[in-house]
């Protein structure tokens, strides 16, 4: 099992994601610089970390979504490579079009950082199967632009297909239908605003994030 984390200028959860992957897989994650053009073929799972890639200039995730490494990542994801994006990573995935919708400024207009309760909306996905029917988890959130938006038809389809994997319990940012995390049609690409990689160690205040990583890794 080999995992990788893509590093953009001003990614700042790259080390956190790598620590989580190492904890769950027992092997260090490979860090891939944004200027590289290819994800090595032996990589089984890619994380796009949180942060402020390119300073959030233009739009959150917009510049990163056009970087050389992301081009290759998109192609491989379309062929089935499992990819997860957290926070800024989710924003980048929506900018690539791998995931539908967009993340707008929080409806409270402020950056918001707090432990956030989440309902597992579909426990049978490749990213949630290890939760074994647990109804709720708590992950930290820390974002300014996490207000998920998509057109009603898109939201209806996401819900009907069981692709809304997590919903907020107590909506912190105005997201449509309390959506916190979604996957693509094939179920191999997942994005969420909360930070599962910050809920790995008892000292973080909880270890609810471990099973998310376990789920996808066990599915490979």
């Amino acid at each position: 099992m080999k995992t990788a984390v893509i590093v953009f200028p001003a990614s700042n959860c790259d080390r956190d994601a790598a620590m989580a992957l190492e904890k769950v897989t027992g092997r260090p994650a490979q860090m891939i610089w944004h200027r590289e053009t290819e994800i090595p073929s032996d990589i089984d799972f890619v994380v796009i970390p949180g942060g402020f890639s390119y300073g959030d200039y233009l739009r959150c995730g917009a510049i990163a979504s056009r970087s050389p490494i992301v081009k290759d990542m998109v192609e491989k994801a379309k062929k089935g490579l499992p990819v997860a994006g957290f926070c800024n990573g989710f924003q980048i995935l929506t900018e690539t079009g791998l995931l539908p919708g967009a993340l707008m400024r929080n409806n409270g207009l402020k950056f918001v950082c707090r432990p956030q309760r989440l309902r597992i909306n579909n426990g049978n996905s490749r990213f949630t199967s290890a939760y074994g029917g647990t109804p709720e988890v708590t992950f930290p959130i820390a974002h300014h632009d996490g207000n998920y938006y998509a057109e009603d038809a898109v939201l209806n389809k996401l819900e009907k297909d069981g692709r809304v994997l997590f919903k907020y319990v107590g909506n912190p940012n105005g997201s449509a239908r309390d959506i916190a995390g979604i996957c693509n049609e094939d179920g191999n690409v997942f994005g969420m605003m909360p930070h599962p990689e910050r809920a790995i160690d008892p000292l973080h205040g909880g270890t609810d994030g471990i099973n998310l990583f376990k789920s996808i890794i066990e599915s490979i």
Binding site: P9, A10, N12, C13, R15, D16, M19, G50, G51, F52, Y54, G55, D56, Y57, K110, F111, V112, C113, R114, P115, P140, A142, H144, H195, E197, R198, I200, D201, L203, H204
Partner: protein, 734 residues
């Protein structure tokens, strides 16, 4: 090299230099300076850069200790935390800019203090802040709170360093001058600390980071003068921050620091290129020659004067090992940062600047730094106040008073602030503002040890009695670190005062320093870095004396630490330390009795040490479930905060023969701690305390859903919580 502009007395005065100071420049140069040279002298001799009013008093501080690797005089202080690890930290003010332009002022304050820390080779791991605003209903307060908090968050969140704690007060004394003090703590290897002394002759000088623009010109001079009604016109002297560049700069510096390419490094902070080059040359005893045409510039047609005095952010100056130039270029190009070789070291001891084929400055460096004015300003001590007798202060309804207190500006929840700060990035935050605890706890990455960090000062005590207030701010940080089970190691300080040319202000300054120093010596708790911010005055009205202290301690093993939030149902509530009912200068007196009178609580440093060492011992022996010190608002506020944090009620009773109830519940006697402990631990804890001559008593029990007492106190925790949480959002959304 003659320049067209003639230096008139008006120009000298506009540069904030006195006639006497200008005369010294004439003597040292043996001629009149040109405008560039005058500008350079003026910023180097500004209060902000030269510490000319404070230097002789700062020299009294205890600055050495067995864990001190580097004390004051470098970009930040360095302490040893065992296993080859070092902690590098400093606190700094950004008061004047934050009042003029709150978002950018606060943001660049955070950026500046981080650069001070990573300049020395440390990766920043935690940010703290100490904020003072004017009265809540003052017309500017809301805008300032909103902008400052957004600026701190906007910068720290982007760079990806957690903002883990701080403090915020409101008082009319800050109506015209808010205080924004930011602290950064970084982690380095003890044998890989970088210093600013330039060495060698002919070594290349590199400029790295953002381009130089016209922002912040004369910021240091602005920060060395009072405000008046026209101060808003100074907005162009406030710098603009770019946390994205800062993040790249950190990563690039860390990468280059892992090699042996850097001889010396200094960030360009106040007074930008001037102070960084002069300080590096002065410390290394060398000269510096710069070609200003090579400085990366944001705008066309910048003059040497503008380039040397610009305070554009996110810039560093380095002396690079000859032969390693290409390595440096490669690293900075990888991170897409501007980088240029702009000069070299010389053996002349002079600062020489070339611009468009002409020498535009040629002055000796020694007078700029070492011969800066050093004033012994007259100081008159603050008159002592009488204590307040608690017998004379009525308390009719404890419940009403408690609600009034927890819903007051200084005691209510700061959730509205800290939810805007990323407190968890880097995933080593063990405890932060989220718990309301006494000190933040940040794990040393990859280990099972942690640093504890706190900031504190009680300005109302310092105003009433600078000496006792000075002792108290140091003692409270020491106590806060003790509360989480840390060994307090060292402090940084940020000394915010009014105009030092007024003897009563200078008296406050000297009083506070003497008190702080006494406490530092009593605890063997040295000052390793700091900053002085004077002239916090508007139209002749000064702020209350506010020597903010940032304390750092070590938790050697995270298997043994405590916060205020661990009380369990059935736990006993124990108080350590005596309660005489000291109400002078207390929050109760101000909020409930409507008076700011009275002497502040005296600080008995030997009792502080005795009680604190005992509490730390109990934490390490795993005798405690929760610990909290009694500070602002006194015993009942501390107990209520423990109950709120645990989500469990507490029933309190008075100790036998105690003082009047106003003083018992709300007195602010020092050297006191509250402990939540298992009932079986009560007797051993009390008897050991007795043997050590420490006052200790059980004064309550945790359980249920109420905060109650046999003095008529009877409040549901939920009611207290809603009052506690409502005040600040209520203010900001009004």
């Amino acid at each position: 090299m003659a320049q067209a502009t003639e230096i008139t007395p008006e120009i000298v005065s506009e540069h904030g230099l006195s006639i006497d100071e200008y005369q010294i420049i004439l003597d040292r140069l043996g001629r009149a300076p040109n405008l560039n040279e005058l500008g350079i002298f003026s910023v180097m001799w500004s209060e902000h850069c030269s510490y000319k009013s404070s230097r002789r008093h700062l020299g009294k501080f205890l600055t050495k200790g067995k864990r001190v690797i580097q004390g004051p005089g470098e970009n930040a202080g360095v302490i040893d935390i065992d296993d080859g690890d070092a902690i590098i930290f400093k606190m700094e003010s950004h008061n004047h800019p934050s009042y003029i332009e709150p978002y950018q002022g606060a943001a660049t304050g955070v950026g500046g203090i981080m650069r001070d820390v990573f300049t020395m080779g440390a990766r920043p791991i935690a940010l703290m802040n100490a904020l003072r605003f004017g009265e809540p209903n003052h017309s500017k307060t809301k805008t300032l709170v909103d902008g400052v908090v957004a600026g701190i968050g906007g910068y720290g969140n982007c760079v990806g360093v957690p903002t883990v704690g701080g403090e915020t007060n409101f008082h009319k004394g800050y109506n015209g001058n808010i205080l924004v003090n930011a602290m950064c703590v970084g982690l380095a290897r003890a044998d890989k600390v970088f210093y600013s002394a330039a060495k060698g002759v002919g070594n290349p000088i590199f400029y790295v980071g953002s381009k130089t623009g016209r922002d912040g010109i004369h910021g240091a001079t602005m920060a060395s003068a009072e405000f008046d009604d026209d101060s808003e016109e100074k907005r162009p002297t406030v710098q603009v921050g770019d946390p994205f560049t800062e993040k790249l700069l950190i990563e690039a510096c860390m990468e280059l620091m892992a090699t042996d390419a850097i001889i010396a490094i200094q960030d360009m902070g106040a007074a930008g290129l001037t102070s960084s080059s002069v300080e590096m040359a002065d410390k290394g005893g060398v000269g510096i020659e710069l070609n200003l045409d090579d400085v990366p510039q944001r705008e066309e047609g910048m003059t040497p004067y503008e380039m040397m005095l610009s305070e554009s952010q996110e810039r560093m100056l380095m002396v690079i090992q000859p032969g390693k130039e290409q390595l440096a270029f490669d690293v900075f190009h990888k991170w897409e940062l501007d980088v240029a070789q702009i000069g070299h070291t010389t053996d002349t001891g002079r600062l020489v600047l070339n611009h468009k084929g002409k020498v535009v400055c040629d002055i000796p460096i020694a007078p700029l730094a070492d011969d800066a004015p050093n004033y012994d300003r007259p100081h008159t001590p603050t008159e002592k106040r009488e204590p307040i007798n608690a017998e004379t202060i009525a308390l009719t309804d404890v419940s009403t008073a408690l609600l009034q207190m927890v819903g007051s500006p200084d005691l209510s929840s700061r959730r509205w602030i800290w939810e805007q700060y990323d407190r968890h990035v880097m995933t080593d935050t063990v405890d932060s503002s989220q718990s309301g605890g006494d000190a933040a706890i940040v794990r040393i990455h990859g280990t099972n040890k942690a640093v504890a960090i706190t900031t504190d000062v009680t300005p109302r005590y310092c105003y009433a009695d600078p000496y006792e207030g000075g002792k108290q701010c140091v003692a409270e940080t020491w106590r806060n670190l003790t509360c989480v089970g840390a060994d307090p190691i060292a402090i940084t300080d940020c000394l915010n005062f009014g105009n030092p040319e007024r003897p009563e202000i200078m008296g406050q300054f000297v009083g506070c320093i003497d008190g702080m120093n006494e406490a530092c010596r009593a605890f063997d708790y040295p000052v390793v870095s700091g900053n002085v911010s004077l002239y916090n005055e508007t139209n002749g009205v000064a702020i209350p004396p506010t020597p903010a202290v940032g304390g750092v301690g070590l938790i050697p093993n995270l298997d043994f630490y405590t916060t205020l939030s661990g009380a369990k149902d059935g736990d006993a509530l124990i108080i350590i330390g005596e309660t005489s009912g000291w109400l002078g200068s207390s929050i109760y007196l101000r909020e409930v009795a409507g008076s700011e009178d009275g002497a502040p609580p005296p600080v008995d440093l030997s009792k502080e040490k005795l009680n604190g060492d005992y509490v730390r011992r109990l934490i390490r022996d795993r005798r405690t479930h929760a610990v909290h010190d009694c500070s602002d608002g006194g015993l009942l506020i501390a107990a209520t905060e423990m109950a709120l944090a645990a989500g469990i009620g507490v029933d309190i009773h008075r100790a036998p023969n105690s003082c009047p109830i106003s003083g018992w519940y709300f007195g602010e006697d020092q050297a006191r701690y509250l402990l939540a402990v298992d009932p079986n631990s009560v007797n051993p804890i009390l008897s050991t305390a007795e043997g050590k001559g420490i006052f200790a008593a059980q004064i309550g029990t945790f359980g249920g859903t109420k905060v109650s007492s046999n003095d008529g106190l009877n409040l549901e925790l939920s009611k207290i919580r809603s009052t506690y949480e409502a005040w600040l959002p209520g203010l900001m959304e009004s």
